[in-house]
Symmetry: C2
Subunit: 342 residues, 2 copies
């Protein structure tokens, strides 16, 4: 009997749902993705309203999961569903809760895993963690981290997430929220971060951070010849910066140099903490290839103690951008199965 796991990724806009086998193949994915309920503009969000939105969302999600299972069983009725892995913002692995999510319309602490579990008593595992932790597990179980006992995963998206693997396990820490490297300080009193803090790694080396650096340099040089000078903030992407660099635009190149310098210094800190075998970069910003990898690697090497020099690989994630979220979430289940055996 072939074993599969459900992978769910709760994003601020959409919720991805898929069925994944133990090799990381996506057997089914709901297309288009399901809408995630939106945070009300109403400042008087009440507990009752939050509960009602939540219950409706859980009911819809339950139906979608049942549909997903039915769809894959049509193809192969012998499939055994092992559990449901969920990636969500502010998700606590230990308690299965989503806590004070800034971009979801839920008040306080929500017992999300147990709400789902109630509707699927036949599954042994319903597990929750944040999307970057899920991506790290995905990398370990299906991707380039196979066989590695110590590595770090950095997801360079709108934010900068991270998942840390130590001794073959994801680091959840004492409260379930470890691995928030995006909010370590790289520039004291620097840019305001999305979290309200100052100078965080995320404010510089996420896709958003790259965009901000573009505008900093456009302000500095006032270079009307740069192709970047024709793009407004709300339309700027890492891909546009990459294309400009490919055309030889000096501003685009400097953006990647600055980003790599800061990211490399931050990764040197990661090395000093954890001495990982490799650090994987994932996401649109990592797709810029040598433009970002070269300065990052050079900076990391320059900032590590001699004992770590030329030991730590910086690698492109082997997870596919399109399916990483559900594949990563499903990896939670294979990891639970592995743990339950040992």
């Amino acid at each position: 009997m072939k074993r599969v796991a459900i992978g769910i990724d709760i994003g601020g806009t959409n919720t991805a749902i898929g069925v994944v086998d133990s090799e990381g193949n996506v057997l089914y994915e709901r297309k288009p993705q399901m809408a995630t309920p939106q945070k009300s503009e109403n400042p008087h969000m009440t507990q009752a309203l939050s509960d009602s939105i939540l219950n409706k969302y859980v009911a819809n999600l339950t139906e979608e999961i049942k549909t997903a299972i039915a769809m894959v069983k049509q193809i192969n009725s012998e499939l055994e569903v092992m559990g449901i892995g969920i990636g969500a913002p502010n998700a606590n692995y230990y308690s299965g809760t989503i806590e004070y999510p800034p971009n979801l319309p839920f008040v306080g602490v929500v017992n999300f895993a147990s709400l789902i579990e109630k509707n699927f008593p036949e599954f042994k595992f319903v597990k929750l963690t944040n999307d970057a932790n899920a991506a790290a597990l995905g990398e370990m179980i299906y991707g380039g981290g196979k066989g590695m006992k110590n590595f770090a995963m950095m997801t360079l998206g709108t934010g900068l997430g991270s998942g840390l693997i130590v001794n073959g396990d994801l680091v959840y820490g004492s409260d379930g929220f470890a691995g928030e490297c995006g909010h370590t300080t790289v520039v004291p009193d620097g840019r305001v971060c999305g979290c309200g803090g100052r100078g965080h790694l995320e404010a510089y080396c996420s896709a958003t951070g790259i965009k901000r650096t573009v505008f900093e340099l456009l302000a500095k040089y006032n270079d009307s010849a740069s192709p970047l000078a024709n793009v407004p903030l709300n339309e700027m992407t890492s891909k546009i910066v990459f294309d400009a660099a490919e055309k030889g635009d000096p501003i685009a190149k400097e953006v990647f140099e600055i980003t790599g310098e800061l990211l490399g210094r931050a990764l040197a800190d990661t090395v000093h903490y954890l001495s990982p075998e490799a650090i994987f970069l994932f996401g649109g910003a990592a797709a810029a290839g040598d433009y970002i990898f070269k300065p990052t690697k050079a900076s990391m090497e320059r900032h590590v103690l001699p004992v770590f020099r030329n030991k730590v690989k910086i690698l492109q994630s082997e997870l596919k951008e399109s399916s990483a979220a559900i594949v990563g979430a499903s990896a939670l289940i294979w990891k639970e199965i592995e743990k339950s055996k040992s």
Copy 2:
């Protein structure tokens, strides 16, 4: 039969040797400490010379270990010696080697554990790690970290060492050298660190860093009324700064404020990486009590994400300064025994 472990701490000047029981009581300690061979001023250190110094040192150490065992067996002939734990600079737990130690007269990579092991084939465990890792194990097995699965230990001495406990185990990383938080960057392009890097935590928040901040402020204010103005660099200690603060000296107080601000920000990074239950501070600088703990705690809380706020304790190490080195080293052995059982 009562079980004991040998604890050895190889410092740049002296080597401490002791016998410790499973509760952390020191049953015997060599006094005065044995001299550690000194790095020759001769720039033409050869492999042959290194080998000869090493062999003599290992022979002497072996005799001292035998003496230590004989001494405790005189008191209680029923003692069973479980192994030898060694704290040493640039020590690699996995391979039992000391690698390129900057302050020891050994060239290259030295198979230290196996040299000792050869002389004590009757012991199951001869293990090596650096002193800060050993201190973290000591805290976990005998001190305030008992029962904690996730915590960090920061040793504020001449340097700033750290040992990280994740899921109940010390983090050694892929190569055995993890936990070098002292060399993470807190002030980009800041002070030159002992390692040659710039702006490292160690350059600001170790005892040496505190001393440097004193001289920075003396330069800034040229305050002849400060008691610190009468002390040369080579005589300045954290204790002298503490005493000056107790007398109300504004420079001494500002030194601790600055140190705490930077240390707290660095510990916020530690929290974002690992979400520890507590962070222990050890060493002379930590003895300044509220002068250092208050600004450190305030800064850490200001720099962590809301999800971590008021969750992580900053605690004084419960290890005694005088015996922590050998007690920590001996903890390596109790940890090995624990691992061998599971």
